[in-house]
């Protein structure tokens, strides 16, 4: 059903966001622990990067319908 798609998208977004945020957070923590002497900025950086990536993904996903993909364009 078309109405469930949005919901699904949001689920994906959320899941993705959580994943990315978590991954970013983790990486950030790892990197901050490993490489950057437990500073917070790699955590925030990476979590932020993760969140941003999630946001971008979400947006892209949500927009995907309106965008003509290259394959379609070419076709």
């Amino acid at each position: 059903m078309s109405e469930k798609e949005l919901g699904k998208k949001w689920d994906r977004c959320l899941a993705d966001g959580v994943t990315k945020l978590g991954t970013g957070l983790g990486l950030g923590i790892v990197f901050s622990v490993l490489f950057f002497k437990r500073r917070t900025w790699p955590i925030t950086l990476f979590s932020g990067a993760g969140l941003g990536m999630a946001y971008a993904n979400c947006q892209n996903d949500l927009r995907s319908h309106y965008l003509l993909h290259r394959s379609e364009k070419e076709q």
Binding site: M1, S2, E3, E5, L6, G7, Y55, C58, Q59, L62, R63, H65, Y66
Partner: protein
């Protein structure tokens, strides 16, 4: 009440004025007082106006009645008030008087009407009363009946006018009385002219009269009655006559007997007296003679008295007989005439006899008178002589004849001398008498003549009377005979006339019969002809009708056969249509099998069935194949499920209302979500007939669609939802397709059912 009101008004006015003065005075004192007085002033003013209004209305109502009526009609309880104030409404005094006048008029009119009918029958009666004089007796009788009829009519008219009751009685009796009088006259007339009336009636019975004739039986009855009456009268007359005759005869006989006896007694007495006068018998015989004479005298007197009384009685009887005869004459009954005549004859005879006897008695009496006179004279002379002798010789006794030896010579001489002197005297008287004889005789003759004359006259008179009476009787007898003869002749003549009349009538009747027969024959023949032609016409008509009916029946039969054939076809068609309809119904039913969430059964079978049942109808085939594949394969969703889905979808569409190709960042999503949260639109809104550009807002569209869905208009809802653009459109895409599918299927199904219905209607025959 009005004055009370006025007084109240004045009092309130005074009070008001007083209060206003007070208030004016108090005005300076303070507002509070002024305020309260102001309020009271207001109240008082209001009361004043109300009372003034009421009083004014009452006054005006008194003056204008229409206004009063209007007020009473419109304002409740005003009647009571106005009634109290002015008394009851003056209810149109003009009209009732008029009504009374009108009601008075009809009775007077009716009286007049009644009077005119009464005068009319009276006039009729007078007119008819005048008629009896000139008209014949039969007309009289009939006019009497008409009078009776007229009186009956009058009474009918009068009785019809119900109000007037007292008048008909006198009118009726009047009419009846006049009728009766007339009838009495009629009766008398008829009784008088009875035989002529009878014949006239028989004559006039044949002729048609304007007045109704009495029926024959009535006439016969009347005649019989009259005859009977006559007979009764005759019988009574005869009886009375006989009675009186008998009594008078008896009385006359008695009288005659008495007279005869008297006559005899008188005769005897005179005879005896004569004897006594003339005879020179010895004294004893003389005395006996005298005694006899006395007895005879006594007898004579008694017999005379008896005769007188008998005569009186006889006269009375005869008078009564005469009166009876007169009365019976007065009755004027023809049959009694001979009786009357006989009675009169008898009367006459009796009268004659009585007169004869009376005359005899009278003559005897006169003779007796003469003898008595003679005897008286003789006695007187004797007496005188005796006195003379006694004067001369007082000692001598009465009977000087027996004195032969007792007288002395002196006495004798004296006696002789006296006798001589007496003789001389008597001679002288005789001479004188002889001288005067003639004169005396003349005088006596004269006297006798006179007496004779008187007697003659009397006798002549009585004889004349008798003769007159006899002549009259003779005349009457002759008259009676003549009358009889004439009657007989008349009867014969009338009989002859009647015979002639009957002959004539017979002839006339024969002729009439002939004529009538001819007429009747003619009429009969014409009628027969008519009947025959009619009969022929009727038969022809019948034949024509029959042929027409036959033709019609044949045509109908043909029509019926055709109809039946067409019926068969039509039934086939109907069956097919029914089949189609059933299959379409099955299709509809399968459509309804959609539950809340799941779609309906696949419509494959139903569609197959439909296709099977409409093999020869391209339209139906086309329709059946127009069903979308998906519905066939999968089935369709029901409207209810779509509705439910729509509501869940609506919120989603609201949320992504701002998102379209150009606006689809996450931030836009965020804004869209906030917009959805903050924007309140009506849940349902009726869509306008024309969508303007501002209506293309998602929220509005959704509310329109919601409204349509709520009202069961899926199509319009789908249309409206179709107007969504952008992400909202993408979200509702599926719902839209489903809705489209459902709509399509439903449309096809409805078309098919309409087609099936139409075909079914077309083939079904109306009852």
């Amino acid at each position: 009440m009005l004055r009370v009101c006025l007084r109240g008004v004045k009092a309130t006015a005074r009070k008001n004025s007083g209060r206003t003065r007070l208030t004016n005075l108090q005005h300076n004192r303070g507002y509070t007082a002024g305020e309260s007085s102001g309020a009271s002033r207001v109240v008082v003013a209001g009361l004043l106006t109300v009372s003034g209004g009421v009083g004014g209305t009452i006054l005006y109502a008194k003056w204008d009645h229409k206004f009063r009526a209007a007020v009473e009609k419109n304002v409740p309880y005003s009647e009571w008030l106005l009634g109290l104030a002015l008394g009851p409404a003056p209810q149109d005094t003009g009209l009732p008087i008029k009504k009374r006048m009108e009601s008075l008029q009809p009775p007077s009119m009716m009286e007049k009407q009644m009077r005119t009918p009464t005068t009319k029958p009276e006039k009729k009666l007078k007119e008819t009363a005048e008629h009896p004089a000139p008209d014949a007796s039969s007309a009289l009788v009939q006019s009497a009946q008409s009078i009776q009829e007229a009186s009956a009519e009058a009474t009918q008219i009068i009785s019809a006018i119900s109000e007037v009751q007292s008048v008909p009685a006198p009118c009726d009796t009047e009419a009846a009385a006049t009728g009766r009088e007339d009838c009495k006259e009629c009766n008398d007339h008829t009784v008088a002219m009875e035989p002529t009336a009878v014949l006239q009636k028989t004559d006039s019975a044949g002729t048609a009269e304007p007045l109704t004739e009495r029926p024959v039986e009535e006439v016969a009855a009347r005649l019989a009655q009259q005859d009977q009456e006559e007979n009764n009268v005759v019988a009574s007359v005869s009886a009375s006559l006989e009675d009186s005759l008998a009594s008078s005869a008896q009385a006359t006989l008695q009288a005659i007997g008495a007279q005869e006896a008297a006559l005899q007694a008188i005769g005897q007495h005179t005879h005896k007296l004569k004897e006594a006068m003339e005879a020179e018998a010895p004294s004893e015989e003389k005395s006996t003679q005298w005694k006899d004479l006395e007895t005879a005298l006594a007898d004579r007197t008694t017999s005379m008295n008896v005769a007188k009384t008998a005569l009186l009685k006889a006269n009375e009887a005869l008078d009564s007989l005469k009166s009876v005869i007169d009365k019976s004459k007065g009755l004027k009954v023809a049959a009694a005439r001979p009786l009357i005549l006989a009675a009169e004859e008898n009367l006459h005879k009796m009268v004659v006899d009585l007169d004869k006897v009376v005359s005899k008695v009278q003559s005897a009496e006169s003779e007796a008178k003469i003898v008595a006179q003679y005897s008286e004279l003789v006695n007187e002379a004797k007496q005188q002589f005796h006195r003379e002798v006694s004067s001369l010789t007082p000692e001598i006794q009465a009977n000087w004849k027996g004195l032969t030896g007792k007288l002395s010579t002196d006495d004798l001489n004296a006696l002789i001398a006296h006798a001589h002197r007496r003789i001389d005297q008597l001679n002288r008287e005789l001479a004188e008498q002889r001288v005067r004889e003639q004169i005396h005789i003349d005088a006596a003759l004269e006297q006798q003549k006179l007496e004779d004359q008187k007697a003659l006259e009397k006798a002549v008179g009585t004889a004349l009377q008798h003769v007159k009476e006899e002549a009259r009787l003779e005349q009457e007898k002759k008259l009676a005979e003549l009358r009889e003869v004439i009657e007989a002749e008349m009867r014969t003549q009338l009989r002859r006339q009647a015979a002639a009349h009957t002959d004539h009538v017979r002839d006339v009747l024969k002729v009439q019969e002939q004529e009538l027969k001819a007429e009747a024959e003619q009429v009969l023949s014409s009628k027969m002809l008519e009947q025959e032609t009619r009969y022929r016409q009727l038969t022809q008509e019948q034949l024509d009708n029959f042929t027409l009916d036959m033709n019609a029946a044949y045509a109908r039969l043909k029509g019926v056969e055709e109809a039946i054939d067409s019926h068969v076809e039509a039934e086939e068609e109907a069956r097919k249509a029914h089949q189609l309809w059933l299959s379409v119904e099955a299709l509809n039913y399968t459509l309804k099998t959609a539950s809340a969430e799941s779609p309906s059964m696949p419509l494959e079978d139903a569609a197959e069935a439909v296709r099977a049942s409409c093999v020869d109808s391209d339209f139906a085939l086309a329709l059946a194949s127009a069903l979308p594949e998906k519905s066939l394969k999968r089935g369709v969703y029901s409207e209810a499920s779509l509705r439910a889905r729509f509501y869940s979808m609506r919120s989603l569409a609201r949320r992504v209302a701002l998102i379209d190709e150009s606006h689809n960042t996450l931030y836009q999503y965020f804004l869209s979500y906030i917009q959805a949260a903050l924007l309140f639109e009506s849940q349902q809104e009726a869509p306008p007939t024309q969508l303007h550009s501002e209506d293309l807002d998602a929220f509005k569209l959704l509310s329109y669609a919601s409204y349509c869905l709520e009202h069961g208009d899926l199509e319009l809802a789908a249309k409206l939802v179709n107007q969504l653009r952008g992400e909202a459109r993408r979200v509702v895409e599926d719902w839209l397709t489903e809705a489209r599918l459902t709509l399509e299927t439903r449309q096809v199904a409805s078309l098919l059912s309409a087609y099936a219905n139409a075909v079914g209607l077309g083939t079904t025959q109306a009852p």
